[in-house]
Subunit: 205 residues, 2 copies
DNA sequence: CCTGATCCTGACTATTTGGTCAAGAATTGG
DNA sequence: CCAATTCTTGACCAAATAGTCAGGATCAGG
């Protein structure tokens, strides 16, 4: 693996930092930053509070580490859109990938949702920097497809917002979705069908 | 005066409870429940902390009062869908109404978003009760329209989820939207155009 | 103007919580 | 094996915070 990258850390340090981040993600995703205590994180990890603070200097640092660590994963599907690919299918793949991530990584989705809701104090420069650039790139690709007549003419920015909103909704508001649907539903499978239909309909020229 | 008799509250009580709820909404919408202190609410209202607690027994009670007080407003557009109306136009009107609410009442949108995110401890019975019933009614109406051939065949539950997700996104994730779009945009106007087109396209038989 | 009810607040308590620290336990390298 | 380093934790501190309370200020009705 990348020993060089982690060369400054012992095996125990790497293992325990990982355990802490994993437990903290679980707790932050449920309670948000302010609603989470270091004691809760420690309990979730099976470590003592001072021990958690031996590996991270503060609660803030754990949170910031998690956000930056997970940002790549979260943005990857958007960056993987292939300009040379078949336009409609590329978009539908992106929707599917994003929905799959909401299903498989709901904690990450909520972590980001909480952070944006509270004004993104740990992400301000990223929002206007890397995120914006990534979106701009995707928008350029989408515009190219539209001008080439491969997609219907829609506002690319709002197309992206709509995909984010719709896919993340199923992770972030899962409790509401479940309460409304009741038992006997698989929200994500149903959503996949609905969204595929919707974006196909919207974007087919 | 008779006003006191009508409400059980004095004029001062009604005025100050109103001031407190107004200020608390502002603070809760930014910081969430756990991130908000009574001191912050008091400062926002220009009252002393003990005075705030003279009108409400606890922070919890202020929060619960706000949620129940605002629920009607939040659900009204869905209840106003007119089964006798013109199907597509009724849905488009609902989308527009919901988007307008996100623009005009972003604090309310965020209040609910925070509450759902943290598992809706103050809304559990409402989610599975009144909300679910309201949605069920709307679903029945939508199904009727679909069977009558007035709307394309889509899953009505997920249609409603999509409308919620898309419209509330612009209030709840406003910071992200703004960071990505940059200056010189009116996100809500653009969204209105995008969503009108999208749902028209999706639902026209 | 008087009186009782309502309103308001400084000062307080109890609890929670982020974070520290000294000292003991475990691990590692030679 | 030993000694140095790393790891772990009980006990602790200081700040923040929800909530209390006695008593003074204000107001409404007579």
């Amino acid at each position: 693996m990348d020993e060089a990258k982690n060369s400054g850390l012992t095996r125990i340090q790497r293992r325990n930092r990982e355990i802490i981040l994993e437990g903290a993600l679980t707790v932050f995703a449920v309670n948000g930053f302010r609603g989470t205590t270091i004691d809760q994180i420690a309990a979730e990890c099976g470590l003592s509070k001072p021990n958690v603070l031996y590996y991270f200097p503060s609660k803030d640092e754990i949170h910031k580490t998690l956000l930056t660590k997970l940002l790549d994963m979260w943005l990857a599907p958007l960056e993987n859109i292939e300009p040379a690919g078949e336009a409609l299918q590329e978009v539908l793949n992106y929707v599917a990938a994003k929905l799959r991530m909401s299903r498989e990584y709901p904690r990450e989705s909520r972590l980001f949702a909480y952070e944006i809701l509270r004004g993104a104090p740990h992400l301000t420069e990223i929002l206007g920097g890397r995120l914006r650039n990534t979106v701009d790139d995707a928008v350029t690709v989408l515009r190219g497809w539209i001008e080439a007549g491969k997609l219907r003419d829609v506002d690319p920015h709002h197309l992206i917002f709509s995909i984010w909103a719709m896919t993340q909704h199923y992770a972030d508001f899962e409790i509401q979705v479940h309460a409304v649907l009741g038992e006997g539903h698989d929200p994500f499978s149903e959503a996949q069908i609905f969204l595929d239909d919707m974006y196909r309909r919207l974007l087919t020229p």
